[in-house]
């Protein structure tokens, strides 16, 4: 294997005209590109020595074909020097700091030494030198006379964009360059520059680099017309003006014309570098679109740095819509067969696998899993087709590389944007399936934050053994069940998984043998426990708790309160009548109901315990079985939610109406008290604010009361309540809004106030402060909203939408900044956290050196557990 070349470091600097002339492969003198036959003109902007883009041609410099030849720089000799826009401010600072006669930096030798020492120290520490350098310029500028030659200094005025005016005379770039040339190396160093890589006079261009054609390719339109790149257009302008300038000067044109041309040349060179300089009108295309020149190419999200260098495009990847498949393991991903036929895994042929590989090759490309390409030992790539596959298979030799189609069991990376945390990319095993979507177990939706309303996801196939090994060991789904954010499980049951577990394990659900088999048939369990009892017909039955215990690992002990625990003032513990106190002893669910607190994503106490006490393999097996079991559990009874589930009995509806009516009345009373000036203001609040707060409180209470009334009539036989109570989806608040009362609509936490003069809508009287006039929605969603209520609801809803839109952009930027600031930090072998310079950020990571995802092992509770365990073990 060849050792790959490594770039050790990159040095930045300015290039000197001499060096550039040496580097250049061609001096460009004609502004034309192609001749009438479509061939590039020599010494023109498309000179074949600058590199090739047209297929079939070869580069005249390196002999490479398009794609191989990186392109080579040429140059334009500028008739007169021009300023590089990027350095305009620096040039101003230097001009003011050096003597106009002798070009010495106007500081005493002692000062220079001191500043240089400071700069060197900062450089050694890797700290920015900017502040010191700015002080150098500030100090040097103060001198009215040169301390060396005594020449009086004149004020230099800088006029945007690029003129320097000394004492009323404009300094030409040539004058400036003359001054800069005489600056000594020592002075340059004091000004924070490195004279070897960047002398000040090199900021004033005498030679303009002509970028290779490879970075400004021309495209041929359908009509056969050539369309040139923006940079080429700009270069054409520069050459034209350059030529005119030269002709005029040789012809001895008047000074005024020469100056105009010089300005024009400066303008074109400036816009070639940066087309957004303030004060310079941007160069435009004929259509009026501003040209995209050099610095526009680098800048911004789609620019070279962020768009092309930090974010790269890859091969061996696929993207399609996702859909759920609860029969898959959480470690698997269903891949459409069409995708599997396109993606490949390279296999190096060796004496051990040659016969196996040969069989793959014989299957050809259409017979999955087949082979798409083979690469021979000499590097020649052969496309395998239905016709040549037998022949290629026979020729197969050790040392060839075979691109085998993706097959069951291959490891792939699966990703969903936005990739906000590392669990957004995880490794799955492939399961090739029919149809056209990627399939995944809904239990892995939380880490990806995926749903199936049309989400798409990406899939990548690692191509080397190292990559596959890392993917398998570090990135497998089961290795990422615990989130490093809080050390708890991020993968777990959602929606129906929770509902199913709840229905199966709540109270004593009895299943006869047939149902038991139905529930267990998909699960790899082959021992049935003894029946829990016999019914009146003498038929054996089993309980849901018993069945759930089958999938719990042996030896698991756990007690906790379920999600739907109502937090009674005195907890009855195991005797909880709601069955909300979960007791698991030695892998048997004795008491309690399995709900979101036990197996849900983000909470999942059972999952958490299993992964920490056993290992990820056991946890993933548990999750696989739990998903299957829960779905069978929900299918036993069937589960649905419809419009009739939002119905409340007549007496409940009346009670709710009473509540809302009395709330409105008390609001009215509050308003009257306010009008009469009898309202006591809260400390630190105005009377109006107090009134608003009191009204909000009253109406809030009214909605809660309405919800409670509805809740009394909706029991666990209501699917909505089951979902809310088990933590599967929705909340009692959502149910309240559907069945009882939607409640107060708000904008920025206040009642709705905007609209017309002194009122929200023309439906109300001016100055009406009542509940209805300011967005209280008395109706339920089921009952339907009145027109005004509907409008207020839309106002509140719109605020939510705007809020979400703003939040995503803000938190995205926060994330980008955080990652950028912290990405280089790493734990060293000595336990310190350092950044790239070796600067210590933390002496011990997190003050105790503990990995957040394994923090439970280093917790005081764990110590107590160990003590108990050891002492109990000895006594037993």
């Amino acid at each position: 294997m060849t050792v790959p070349k490594r770039i050790g470091k990159i040095r930045f600097g300015l290039i000197s005209p001499q060096e550039f002339r040496k580097m250049s492969v061609v001096k460009v003198i004609t502004a034309d590109t192609y001749d009438d036959d479509g061939f590039p003109i020599e010494m023109g902007l498309m000179d074949p020595r600058l590199g090739v883009i047209d297929p079939g041609l070869r580069c005249r410099t390196c002999g490479g074909r398009p794609g191989e030849c990186p392109g080579h720089f040429g140059h334009i000799d500028l008739v007169a020097p021009v300023i590089h826009v990027g350095f305009a401010k620096l040039i101003r600072k230097i001009l003011r700091a050096i003597c106009r006669e002798c070009s010495k930096l106007m500081l005493s030798e002692v000062e220079k030494k001191e500043f240089l020492r400071q700069i060197r120290t900062l450089e050694d520490l890797g700290q920015p030198t900017e502040d010191v350098v700015n002080r150098v310029f500030a100090e040097a500028r103060k001198h009215k006379e040169c301390p060396y030659c005594g020449a009086p200094q004149k004020e230099i005025k800088f006029e945007r964009p690029l003129s320097y005016i000394e004492d009323g005379h404009k300094l030409t770039p040539a004058d400036i360059r003359d001054r800069f040339e005489r600056i000594s190396d020592e002075d340059i160093m004091v000004m924070g520059m490195n004279p070897e890589t960047a002398r000040p006079e090199w900021t004033i261009l005498t030679v303009l680099p002509v970028p290779p054609v490879t970075m400004r390719p021309s495209i041929t339109l359908e009509s056969g017309q050539r369309s040139e790149d923006d940079l080429t257009h700009k270069l054409v302008d520069i050459i034209r003006i350059n030529q005119r300038f030269q002709e005029n000067r040789e012809a001895g044109a008047p000074q005024l014309i020469i100056e105009d041309l010089w300005e024009l040349l400066q303008y074109h060179v400036t816009t070639f570098m940066d087309n957004t300089v303030s004060g310079v009108p941007p160069a435009r295309h004929r259509s009026g679109r501003p040209l995209k020149t050099l610095s526009q190419r680098l800048k911004g999200k789609e620019g070279r740095f962020r768009g092309s260098l930090s974010g790269k495009r890859v091969n061996f990847s696929a993207r399609t819509v996702i859909s759920p498949d609860p029969n898959l393991s959480i470690n698997e991903v269903g891949v459409p067969i069409e995708v599997a036929k396109e993606l490949t895994v390279p296999i190096m042929v060796n004496p051990r696998n040659i016969e196996v590989v040969r069989k793959y090759v014989m299957r050809g490309p259409d017979n999955h899993p087949g082979v798409n390409y083979v690469t021979r030992a000499d590097g020649r790539r052969v496309k395998v087709t239905e016709r040549n596959c037998q022949e290629v298979a026979q020729q197969l030799e050790v040392g060839w590389k075979v691109d085998r189609q993706l097959a069951d069991g291959d490891i792939v990376l699966f990703n969903r944007q936005p990739s906000l945390h590392r669990m957004s990319i995880m490794a799955h095993r492939v399961k090739v399936m029919p149809y056209k979507t990627f399939r995944l177990n809904p239990a892995v939706c939380p880490p990806y934050n995926a749903d199936f309303d049309g989400d798409e996801m990406n899939l990548h196939v690692p191509q080397t053994e190292e990559a596959r090994a890392e993917a398998e060991i570090l990135m497998r789904v089961q290795e990422n069940i615990l989130s490093p954010r809080f050390g708890g499980p991020i993968i777990g049951g959602i929606h129906d998984y929770v509902t199913g577990s709840f229905l199966l394990t709540h109270k004593e659900r009895r299943l006869d043998k047939e149902k038991l088999m139905e529930v267990l048939k998909k699960i790899d369990i082959d021992e049935i426990p003894d029946p829990a009892g016999y019914d009146e017909n003498g038929e054996p039955y089993w309980t849901g708790k018993q069945i759930f215990s089958l999938i719990l690992p042996k030896g698991l002990n756990l007690t906790f309160k379920a999600d739907f625990c109502s937090n009674c003032p005195v907890c009855k513990g195991e005797d909880c009548e709601n069955d909300a106190y979960v007791v698991i002893r030695n892998g048997v669910l004795l008491k309690g109901t399995i709900d979101a607190e036990a197996v849900g994503a983000f909470k999942g106490k059972v999952i958490d315990r299993i992964i920490k006490e056993y290992d990820p393999g056991v946890a993933s097996q548990f999750l696989d079985r739990m998903t299957l079991l829960a779905l069978r559990g929900i299918m036993l009874a069937g589960f649905s939610f419809g419009i009739s589930d939002e119905d409340v009995p007549k007496e409940a509806a009346e009670q709710i109406q009473d509540v809302t009516r009395s709330a409105k009345e008390s609001v009215q009373k509050l308003i009257e008290a306010y009008r009469a000036g009898e309202l006591e203001p809260l400390p630190g609040r105005t009377l109006e604010e107090t009134l608003e707060m009191r009204i909000m409180q009253t109406l809030g209470k009214a909605r809660d009361a309405a919800g409670q009334i509805a809740g009394r009539y909706l029991g666990l036989d209501n699917s909505g309540v089951v979902m809310a109570v088990s933590g599967a989806r929705g909340s009692m608040l959502n149910l309240t809004q559907m069945a009882a009362c939607v409640g107060q609509q708000s904008v920025r936490g206040e009642r709705i106030k905007r609209g017309y003069t002194d009122r929200t809508l023309p439906h109300f009287k001016r100055g009406d402060l009542g509940a209805e006039a300011h967005g209280f929605v008395e109706s339920s969603y089921k009952k339907g909203l009145s027109p005004t209520e509907f409008f207020f609801h839309a106002i509140g809803g719109r605020e939510g939408l705007v809020d979400t839109a703003i939040r995503t952009s803000q938190s995205g930027y926060l994330q980008r900044r955080l990652v950028n600031a912290l990405q280089d930090l790493e734990v060293n072998y000595d336990g310190t956290v350092r950044e790239t310079r070796g600067m210590i950020v933390q002496f011990k990571y997190g003050e105790d050196g503990v990995d957040p995802s394994r923090r439970d092992y280093a917790s005081p509770e764990n110590v107590h557990r160990i003590i108990k365990k050891v002492l109990a073990g000895e006594n037993a």
Binding site: M193, F305, L814, R817, V841, Q842, V850, E874
Partner: protein
């Protein structure tokens, strides 16, 4: 049982965090009897578990921390104001507050202080109220009314006796303060103060009224409101506005338990370590309030990178990211072109040690598995 000294020393010498040592000691003390053998077994298991829990070298803790704080940001609310604890005082919470902390703003959008009092003041409502009035900035509007007399072209201030008594200030003192602040002649007669502008013009007169309204007669400048609240069995003061340095010097204030949400102020008054802790506390509190669980270690790392060189630095272009060693990393973040131009002038060298730089040049990054420099020996070499 009581632990023998030898055991205590043994526990002390272990390479464990303090919390675990304490747990060991308390756990063993609670046990009835522990044999030497059991003791060693416990120690062995505790140390083993701790070793298991330690971060692995080369772990990219920075990225994990950044993601752990950034990811919950998407779930936070944007609602700027929330009535936190005290109904009367608004505090910025949620995503805007988190951004504010990370931005290291000089002044937060809603500065507030939590002032705890010394025991004798904390238990007595009246004494607590006196401290509150002493701290709260008192302007002329708190003490009486202000009016303009257009005929005489002067400003007439009528002071309220009760209000002055409550805030412990006399009419003479008010007059004195006004004289100092405006530099004008003040004519005080009982509870009436009359002032005239230098020039007898209508504009000057109205401007003078505004100036007088702004004068802080008593208390701390910037603390607009103080609210007293009973927490447990002590009275605590909450303020709108913050001025740590001055408040700490007030009589009755417990300087060890008084805090502000202005991190820069903490840095100036109490130093960088205090500022670091303030960042950790504020960020933890903001996330906790939103019901989001984030391990402290992540927040600590952010606080440490912000404060590790002695100043509170922003996470972003004007702070941590802008001072990175690598030119390419800075260019890829923000203000691309300027960074490259400056690097050229200085002749900077990029050592390509960070993440972005290596991604840019297409090399493996030097973190995690990419940072392991070992090369396996070939089997034939090992055999020989």
């Amino acid at each position: 049982m009581k632990l023998p000294d030898a055991w205590l020393k043994r526990i002390e010498d272990l390479d464990l965090p303090v919390s675990l040592k304490d747990a060991l000691k308390s756990g063993l003390e609670e046990a009835e009897s522990v044999t030497e053998e059991q003791f060693e077994r416990i120690i062995k298991e505790v140390v083993e578990d701790y070793e298991h829990a330690k971060v692995e070298p080369c772990e990219a803790v920075g990225v994990v921390a950044a993601q752990s704080i950034g990811e919950p940001g998407t779930q936070m609310t944007m609602r700027t104001f929330h009535y936190a604890g005290v109904a009367e005082i608004n505090v910025t919470l949620g995503l805007p507050r988190l951004i504010e902390i990370v931005d290291a703003r000089k002044i937060p959008s809603t500065p507030t202080m939590t002032i705890r009092l010394l025991p004798e003041y904390a238990s007595d409502r009246d004494m607590a109220r006196e401290v509150a009035w002493a701290i709260e900035a008192t302007s002329i509007l708190h003490l009486g009314s202000i009016a303009t007399d257009l005929a005489e072209m002067n400003v007439v201030i009528e002071l309220n006796e009760d209000a002055m008594a409550q805030r412990k200030i006399t009419a003479e003192e008010v007059a004195e303060k006004l004289r100092d602040a405006t530099g004008l002649a003040v004519d005080q007669n009982g509870n009436t103060i009359i002032m005239a502008p230098e020039e007898p013009s209508y504009r000057e007169l109205l401007q003078l009224v505004e100036r007088i309204k702004k004068v802080t007669l008593k208390g701390v400048d910037g603390i607009k409101r103080v609210v007293i609240r009973k927490e447990g069995d002590e009275y605590v003061l909450y303020t709108e506005g913050s001025s740590l340095k001055e408040v700490l010097e007030f009589e009755g204030v417990d300087p060890t338990r008084t805090k502000t949400n202005n991190i820069n102020e903490i840095c100036e008054v109490l130093g960088i370590e205090a500022a670091r802790n303030a960042i950790i506390n504020e960020a933890t509190e903001t996330l906790r309030e939103q019901g989001l669980q984030v391990d402290v270690r992540h927040i600590m790392l952010v606080a440490d990178i912000m404060t590790c060189d002695g100043d509170v630095k922003q996470i972003g272009r004007h702070g941590v990211s802008g001072e990175k060693a690598s030119v390419l990393a800075r260019a890829a973040f923000e203000v691309t072109v300027n960074h490259i131009l400056d690097a050229a002038i200085r002749g900077d060298v990029d050592d390509l040690k960070g993440v972005t730089e290596n991604v840019i040049v297409g090399q493996p990054i030097q973190l995690g598995t990419g940072d392991v420099q070992l090369v396996a020996k070939r089997i034939d070499e090992v055999v020989r």
